[in-house]
Symmetry: C2
Subunit: 324 residues, 2 copies
């Protein structure tokens, strides 16, 4: 089978590729070829299948038509301008997140007898305050960011195209991915990872909110499992509602810090510097805190069971178990 990863150079795309390289297959089908598409050339490990590395603009119609003309069996659409940047640059956010997504779906729909599985990474940013204590599967999408608006529109297009038999799509609303490895990106939610990753690596981290802030997390490893499951689950099992809120862990920042203390001790926790930032506090107050991800759980999507586990996954996958 042929797989296309749009946004293949990003953190999740790279972790997905590494996993596919180990497995050599997706579900019960052997992988012949994976194409990584991104704005900059993606790197890749040694793989048992062919890897094509392509660069280009996902909002350029000719580029996207070319990409899809290879008729990949599965398309992972992970490319996005993240929340902070989509808010700062209105045109860029709409161009990549809305136009790019629509071009991808359109390029697939116009090819006769071609109905690929499309896995679209949406976000809990499709929800906006005020919220119930726990957000159920039937709560409305009232995004309070341009990024959340663009992701919601992507979900809607995917659902309609799927209903009409043009795609076989599934939108998965990822929890905030924590602990995010590597350098901070422009996502406004970065501090949730920073306060774990940096202290574990021996560095100071700034916590710009109070410890009672509650949020919804899953690890990068869980994110890859979500993608694999979304790529292989039977369409009729999902049903008509193609957007799923995925399971995660709801913890306060204080609970995150206590987990870090249990896993890594007081010395590491002492590297967190409390510097409340009124602007960030205000923004985060509009973010969701907890979900009842019943549908996705019933469909077999699994996240971690505790934040301690999320930290241990980071230690195993990124730090070879070594705490500085």
């Amino acid at each position: 089978m042929k797989i296309l990863i749009v946004g293949g150079g990003g953190m999740i795309g790279q972790k997905l590729l590494a996993r596919l390289a180990v497995d050599g297959r997706l579900g019960d089908r052997e992988i012949a070829e994976v194409t990584l598409f991104d704005v900059v050339p993606a790197t890749h490990p040694v793989t048992p299948f062919t890897v094509n590395v392509l660069t280009g603009d996902v909002a350029d119609a000719a580029t996207v038509t070319g990409l899809i003309s290879a008729q990949p069996d599965v398309i992972f659409h992970l490319a996005a301008i993240v929340s902070g940047e989509a808010e700062a640059d209105f045109d860029k956010g709409y161009r990549i997140n809305l136009d790019g997504t629509r071009l991808l779906f359109d390029a697939a729909r116009v090819i006769p007898d071609y109905v690929p599985r499309v896995v679209f990474t949406s976000s809990i940013a499709v929800f906006g305050a005020p919220f119930p204590e726990s957000i159920g599967d039937e709560f409305h999408n009232t995004p309070l960011t341009s990024y959340g608006t663009q992701k919601t529109i992507g979900e809607l297009l995917l659902s309609d195209f799927t209903r009409r038999g043009m795609l076989d799509g599934i939108s998965i609303r990822l929890p905030t991915i924590c602990v995010r490895p590597g350098a901070p990106n422009k996502a406004a939610s970065g501090f949730f990872s920073n306060i774990i990753r940096e202290p574990l690596a021996g560095y100071e981290a700034v916590l710009p909110v109070t410890e009672d802030v509650r949020h919804w997390h899953a690890s990068p490893r869980a994110a890859v499992e979500f993608l694999l499951h979304a790529a292989t689950i039977a369409g009729q099992q999902i049903g008509a509602r193609r957007s799923l809120t995925l399971p995660g862990i709801s913890v306060t920042v204080g609970e995150q810090i206590e987990s870090l203390r249990r896993v890594a001790g007081d010395k590491v926790v002492a590297r967190i510097r409390h510097e409340p930032d009124a602007a960030i506090i205000k923004m985060v107050a509009g973010w969701p805190q907890q979900f009842d991800a019943d549908r996705a759980s019933h469909l077999g999507f699994r996240a971690e069971h505790s934040f301690d586990e999320i930290i241990r996954v980071h230690l195993e996958d990124e730090l070879n178990g070594v705490i500085k």
Copy 2:
């Protein structure tokens, strides 16, 4: 003040204009000029203000930029490819309902210091089955038609543009408008009006569903009141959630027919021919039946109190009280 009615040649646009012509003002401001834009030249009555009649394609960027460059204070965006046609012609529906709407909003946003009130007529087609018995203000949008998808996307764009201070928008989800005067249009919901309008006018009408089908209605007169209220209500009163499900009357087709019997007698009711159509029955099964339109009610939007009243409005406004 200057008003632009996009879709000014349609049934609702014409009724809105007639009402503005009588009032001469919108809220507490005198009307200087109304521009009617549509694909075909709109007609208009004698008015105490200037009326411009323009024709063109709402999905053509230059046309829309020209339209908005006049900087109307209020824009009523009523233009749409209706449900049946948007389902039959995928490209046309997306072109007019999505691209046209986005072009309109974009044309306004790029003009510095210009933040018009935009009233966008959305639809209860933004909801899709399965439903709770009565649909509340926080139920999610899972449209089961391309039309409903396009209307939901329009709502999302309007909300985001409004949040960012580019527009001052409000999306109103109209109930099914009943009794719709004139010739049937391509909306799949046409029979709800046909079975009242045609018998009252002395003609036979076909009822393609069973009498237990329940649906959500408001009169054309109520629709005009909705538009006027949406154009004049203070933005801060609406709050961040700019999409409102409007009040209506929930009745079964059987109750519609009993209303008709009370208002017009057995002879008129006998003109309804029962011809169940499996395809229409299946489609209608996915439509919403009843709403709790609490937010809109609190904000002062008012519909009729009974279906009898809806029929009497039709008799008064369209038939001079004369039953054939």
